[in-house]
């Protein structure tokens, strides 16, 4: 990445990180206000308290549920924005992937493809240009989005292959076979050459097979 490209990316990340921090504060205030309403209902003796609790219980619970959803998204976006801080840094690829999968879920849903992150407790550290690594992941997913039928699911996880490490994007469909010659179809998508070029810059090796895509690093 050129110095100018790095500075532009970092500016985008810096402003996004700053705005998401503010969003976290907004959500925190909404959550505390909903909590205070619950407290008032619980702590203040009043007539018809049962009816009030019954009528306000559901909207308050909805507010809390949606705040939790917002916090998860905004926290992921904040973490993603901070990956532009350094040109190269030691990152936990598992945490990085979990975050990117959550942020990409809507893009998958737009074409009817589901994304599932296979949880892994153990971190996997890599010193890398984190944005470039995420670009590789994103291209792998976009390439799959282009060829998979609606209702397909991509499971993103890590295979214990020792060295090199392997991130897998395994595809399946609940009720129809996957397209034959998946590697051939993937190679024709616009995202595939971008993935190959991006991966070469950080020593990541993409591999397509009939089960999906692997990133070896």
């Amino acid at each position: 990445m050129s110095e100018q490209d790095f500075l532009k990316t970092r500016l985008f990340g810096k402003l996004t990180a700053s705005a998401t921090h503010e969003f976290q504060n907004v959500l925190a205030i909404i959550k505390e206000s909903a909590g205070l309403m619950e407290d008032v209902l619980a702590f203040t003796p009043m007539e018809n308290a049962d009816i009030l609790e019954e009528r306000l219980g559901m909207p308050l619970s909805t507010i809390k549920k949606q705040v939790a959803r917002g916090v998860e998204l905004v926290s992921c976006l904040n973490g993603f924005a901070h990956t532009t801080d350094h040109a190269r840094i030691k990152v936990d690829v598992v945490a990085l992937s979990r975050r990117l999968v959550l942020l990409t879920r809507r893009l998958g849903a737009n074409v009817g493809v589901g994304l599932v992150f296979e949880e892994q407790d153990k971190p996997l550290y890599l010193t890398v240009d984190a944005m470039q690594f995420q670009l590789c992941m994103s291209c792998a997913m976009e390439s799959l989005f282009s060829v998979l039928p609606a209702r397909a699911v991509i499971s993103i996880g890590f295979k214990d292959t020792g060295s090199p490490s392997c991130m897998s994007f395994s595809v399946n469909h609940p009720d129809q076979p996957l397209p034959g010659d998946l590697p051939g179809h993937l190679s024709k998508t616009p995202s595939w050459p971008v993935l190959m070029e991006a991966a070469a810059l950080i020593d990541v090796r993409p591999e397509a097979n009939d089960a999906g895509v692997n990133l070896l690093f």
């Binding site: 976290q24 925190a28 205030i29 959550k31 505390e32 909590g35 702590f43 904040n78 901070h82």
Partner: protein, 129 residues
């Protein structure tokens, strides 16, 4: 110490957040004072004594870590619980290295906060004895 007698200094530049949280803590029997910046918090600390401070890390002007350093000079025995945004665990860890009891992420769970306050004050009382 019972929670009835715990006096909390709550320092956060998000005044609506601080005031709402203070009200929720008061409903649970705690006594609270709020300050909208580090300087105001230190000002209150110079006039009154507190059992614990709950301190936001991300504040304009004197930031949370600088405020924490000053608190540890002015009231070294008072425990401090830090509040961080999600994704700011590094600052939380740095705060603990500087002497904070622990840190919690915003948005908070009020039960987590009250448990943390009680254990911090208990630990501080134990050390004083």
């Amino acid at each position: 110490m019972t929670k009835k007698s715990i006096k909390i200094l709550l320092i956060d530049d998000e005044e609506e957040f601080a005031n709402t949280l203070a009200e929720r803590l008061e409903l649970r029997g705690y006594e609270t004072r709020t300050a909208a910046c580090g300087e105001d918090g230190l000002g209150l600390l110079s006039k009154e004594s507190f059992d614990i401070a709950v301190l936001d890390l991300m504040m304009p002007g004197m930031n949370g870590l600088d405020t924490l350093r000053r608190i540890k000079l002015d009231a070294p025995d008072m425990p401090v619980v830090l509040l961080t945004g999600h994704g700011s665990t590094r600052e939380g860890m740095e705060g603990m290295r500087l002497g904070a009891f622990d840190y919690l992420m915003k948005p908070l769970d009020i039960k987590d906060l009250t448990l943390k306050i009680l254990s911090a004050v208990d630990a501080s009382d134990g050390e004083k004895k």
